[in-house]
C-alpha cells in the first residue's frame, strides 16, 4: 500500500494500445520498454518506445503470451512495472501473480480479483452475494443433461446456454423453441469440450432486444471505488463491438445512478484495484443484469476519457503507485457526447474477411473534436498473426447529433489504401436511421445488414474520372520507362534505341 513512484514501464502488448500507453507514460516522464515478436520489428510501438526487446516468433503464444520471456525482459531492462494493455496477458491471473512474486508491479488487479471475475459462474455467485442483479439462471455449472432440462423448464424459454469456461461466442447456443433444447444443449457442450476441454455450461434467461451497456470503474488501493458512467456497446457483429458511444441514447439519470452503484459494488466485492469494466445486459424497459467484469482497460475506454475528462491510463499508473484516487464520485460528470468507431482491416463486402497487408497510404482525420488512436503508417505491413483492428476513431461533440455529423466528416477524411477497411461500412452505420435515432440494440447490424452493405450511389462522372486518372498514371509510367531507356540509348548508340523501343512496348 506504500506509495512508490513508477520510473519505467514495460508494455506487454502491441498495436494501438501499446502506443496509447506509451503516450501517457511519456507525458508522465516514465520510461517505456516495448517487446516485439518477429512480425513486429517495424511496428510503431517498437519505434515509439524508449527501449525495445525481441521476445520470440510471430505466433502470440511464443511471444506476447510468453510470461517467462516478458518477465526476463522486465528484469533485463529494470522495468519496475508492467502494463498488460488489453487481450494477451491482461486477464491472466498467473501473470499477475508472477509479477507480484518477481517484485514487479502489475498495472491491473490482483490475481485473486482476476480469478474471482474470470470464471463466469464464480463471478455470478459473487455478484448475487453482493446484491448485484444477475440474469435469471443457474449459479452452478451444469454437467448433467437432465439437470439442464429441468433448469430450462424453470427459467422458461428463451434461454441462452453458455460454456462456463467460454468466450468469443464458442460453446454458446440460443434456444427459442422446445424442440431445439436437447440438440442445442448437446451442441454447446461438445463445442465447449473441444474448445476449452470442459463441457460444463450454465443456462440463463435470454434477453430479447438486449442492449450491451458497460460501466467504467476505477479503484485505488485504499478502498475508494468510483464509476465513470456508462458506455453503450450494442453495435456488434458476432459479439465483436464495432461502434461504442457515451452517454447511451437509452439511458436515464435514475437508472444510470443505480447501475453505477451496482458497478462500484461489483468491483468492491472482489477488492478490485485499477481500471475495470462491469458489463450489463439491459432490455428495452431498462431492466439490467450483470453480465461479466473485464478486469483490464477496454478497447473503447477513450470515449469515457473524452466525456469525463480523465486519462484512464494515467489513473491506472497512479493507482499502481499507491496513490489515492484524485476525485470522488461527486466530482465526476459527463459533458457532451462521444462516439468511437473501430477501423478493421477487413473486406466488409466479402463476409468481413480479414485483410492484412501493406499500407500504401494513410491519411488520418484531424481537427476539432477528433481523436485517432492507431499504430499503422504509410509503408507498414499489417501482419497476419494478430488482431485486424487498425485504429479507433473517437469524436466528441456537444450533442449526439453533432457527434454523428463529426464522425461522418472524420470517416470521410480517413483514407487508407493498400488494405481493405471497414471505413465505408462505418459510414453507412452513421447514416442508418436506427443509429441516428438512437433506437438500436445488439441486433442492429443483423437487422440493418442490407442497408449497411448496399452500394453507395456514384456521381455521374466518377467512373469516367477514375478511368482518366488511370490513363494518365499508366501513360506516365510508360513515358518514364521510355525515358530511362532512351537515356541509356543516347549514350551508347543506335542498337540500343531499337532495343529500348521494343523493351518499352513489350515489357511494361
Amino acid at each position: 500500500m506504500s506509495q512508490r513512484k513508477i520510473k519505467k514501464v514495460l508494455i506487454a502488448n502491441r498495436g494501438e494500445i501499446a502506443v496509447r500507453i506509451i503516450r501517457s507514460c511519456r507525458e508522465m516522464g516514465i520510461h517505456t520498454v516495448a517487446v516485439f515478436s518477429d512480425a513486429d520489428r517495424t511496428a510503431m510501438h517498437v519505434r515509439y518506445a524508449g527501449e525495445a526487446y525481441y521476445i520470440g516468433p510471430s505466433p502470440s503464444n511464443e511471444s506476447y503470451l510468453s510470461i517467462d520471456k516478458i518477465i526476463e525482459v522486465a528484469k533485463l531492462s529494470r522495468a519496475d512495472a508492467i502494463h498488460p494493455g488489453y487481450g494477451f496477458l491482461s486477464e491472466n491471473a498467473t501473470f499477475s501473480r508472477r509479477c507480484r512474486e518477481e517484485g514487479i508491479k502489475f498495472i491491473g488487479p490482483s490475481p485473486e480479483a482476476i480469478e474471482g471475475m474470470g470464471d463466469k459462474i464464480t463471478a455470478r455467485k459473487t455478484m448475487i452475494a453482493a446484491g448485484v442483479p444477475v440474469v435469471p439462471g443457474t449459479t452452478e455449472k451444469v454437467t448433467d443433461e437432465d439437470e439442464a432440462l429441468k433448469v430450462i423448464g424453470e427459467i422458461g424459454l428463451p434461454v441462452m446456454i453458455k460454456a462456463s469456461a467460454g468466450g468469443g461466442g464458442k460453446g454458446m447456443r440460443l434456444v427459442k423453441e422446445q424442440s431445439q433444447i436437447v440438440s442445442s444443449l448437446r451442441g454447446a457442450r461438445s463445442e465447449a469440450k473441444s474448445a476449452f476441454g470442459d463441457d460444463s455450461v450454465y443456462i440463463e434467461k435470454y434477453i430479447e432486444s438486449p442492449h450491451h451497456i458497460e460501466f467504467q470503474i476505477l479503484a485505488d488501493q485504499h478502498g475508494n471505488t468510483v464509476h465513470l458512467f456508462e458506455r453503450e456497446c450494442s453495435v456488434q457483429r458476432r459479439h465483436q463491438k464495432v461502434v461504442e458511444e457515451t452517454p447511451s441514447p437509452v439511458m436515464n439519470p435514475e437508472v444510470r445512478a443505480k447501475m453505477g452503484e451496482y458497478a462500484v459494488a461489483a468491483a468492491q466485492a472482489v477488492n478490485y484495484e485499477g481500471a475495470g469494466t462491469i458489463e450489463f445486459i439491459m432490455d428495452d424497459n431498462l431492466n439490467f443484469y450483470f453480465l461479466e467484469m473485464n478486469t483490464r482497460l477496454q478497447v473503447e475506454h477513450p470515449i469515457t476519457e473524452r466525456v469525463v475528462g480523465v486519462d484512464l491510463v494515467k489513473e491506472q499508473i497512479r493507482v499502481a503507485e499507491g496513490n489515492p484516487l484524485p476525485f470522488r464520485q461527486e466530482d465526476l460528470k459527463q459533458t457532451g457526447h462521444a462516439i468511437e468507431c473501430r477501423i478493421y482491416a477487413e473486406d466488409t463486402d466479402n463476409n468481413f474477411m480479414p485483410n492484412p497487408g501493406k499500407i500504401s497510404h494513410i491519411t488520418e482525420p484531424l481537427g476539432l473534436g477528433v481523436r485517432c488512436d492507431g499504430y499503422v503508417y504509410t509503408g507498414y505491413t499489417i501482419p497476419i498473426y494478430y488482431d485486424p483492428m487498425i485504429s479507433k476513431l473517437i469524436v466528441w461533440a456537444q450533442t449526439r447529433e453533432e457527434a454523428i455529423q463529426r464522425m461522418r466528416r472524420a470517416l470521410y477524411e480517413y483514407k487508407i489504401t493498400g488494405v481493405k477497411t471497414s471505413i465505408k461500412f462505418l459510414e453507412r452505420i452513421m447514416e442508418s436511421e436506427d443509429f441516428r435515432n438512437g433506437k438500436y440494440n445488439t441486433h442492429f447490424i443483423e437487422k440493418n445488414l442490407k442497408f449497411l452493405l448496399a452500394e453507395t450511389e456514384c456521381d455521374l462522372y466518377c467512373e469516367d474520372l477514375a478511368l482518366i486518372a488511370t490513363y494518365v498514371d499508366y501513360m506516365e509510367k510508360l513515358e518514364k520507362v521510355r525515358m530511362t531507356i532512351d537515356h541509356a540509348t543516347v549514350r551508347h548508340g543506335s542498337d540500343w534505341k531499337q532495343f529500348g523501343r521494343r523493351h518499352a512496348a513489350y515489357r511494361l
Binding site: D387, Y461, L465, T470, D473
Partner: protein
C-alpha cells in the same frame, strides 16, 4: 495514344486529345472531358471537373497493368488491355472451356490445413483448403466437381494475397 481499359464489365477507350499544363482534354469513349488534373502524391490525383473537386487514388495492384482505383466513396478495379493482355485473355478463354477452377487467396495468411491431395476427386462445395489470418480461419471450397490437379502451397506456408492455392480441373 489510345488505351483500352476495363472496369467491371465495361470496356472503355481512353485517349488524350490535348494537354496544356494541368489542363487536359481526354476522351472516354464518346464523351469528352476537359479536366484540370494534377498529381499530388504517389498515385494520388486531384481532378477539377466542372468546378467539382475530386480526389482519386490510383494504386498498382498485382502488376503495372492492374489498378485499384479509389474515389472517395467508390473503389474500382481497372485493367489496362494491351496486345499481351489480349493474347493472355484469348488463351484463358480457350482454357476456360476446360473449366479450370483456380482457388486464390483473397488476402495474405497462413495455410492451416489442406484436406485434399493432388489427384483427389472433389465435389463442388467441398472444402479444399483452410487459411488463417488475424485469428480467423477461412475455408475455401471447390467451385466445381473435378480432380485436384495442382496444390502449389503446403500446410504451414505463409502466403500472399492473390496467390494460387488449389487448381481443380
Amino acid at each position: 495514344m489510345e488505351l483500352e481499359l476495363t472496369v467491371n464489365d465495361r470496356h472503355a477507350k481512353v485517349r488524350e486529345l490535348k494537354r496544356e499544363g494541368n489542363i487536359a482534354t481526354i476522351a472516354v469513349d464518346d464523351d469528352i472531358y476537359e479536366v484540370d488534373l494534377v498529381k499530388v502524391g504517389n498515385g494520388e490525383y486531384s481532378i477539377l471537373y466542372k468546378g467539382k473537386s475530386y480526389n482519386i487514388e490510383v494504386i498498382e495492384s498485382t502488376d503495372p497493368k492492374h489498378y485499384s482505383v479509389n474515389t472517395f466513396y467508390f473503389s474500382y478495379n481497372i485493367e489496362v488491355i494491351d496486345a499481351e493482355t489480349r493474347y493472355m485473355q484469348s488463351r484463358e478463354e480457350a482454357g476456360g472451356n476446360h473449366g479450370e477452377n483456380i482457388i486464390r487467396s483473397p488476402m495474405p495468411g497462413k495455410v492451416v490445413k489442406i484436406p485434399v491431395n493432388v489427384g483427389d476427386q472433389v465435389e463442388k462445395g467441398q472444402t479444399v483448403i483452410i487459411v488463417a489470418a488475424m485469428k480467423m480461419e477461412s475455408e475455401f471450397k471447390a467451385g466445381k466437381d473435378g480432380v485436384v490437379v495442382e496444390i502449389p502451397v503446403k500446410e504451414g506456408d505463409t502466403i500472399d494475397g492473390n496467390q494460387i492455392m488449389v487448381v481443380i480441373e
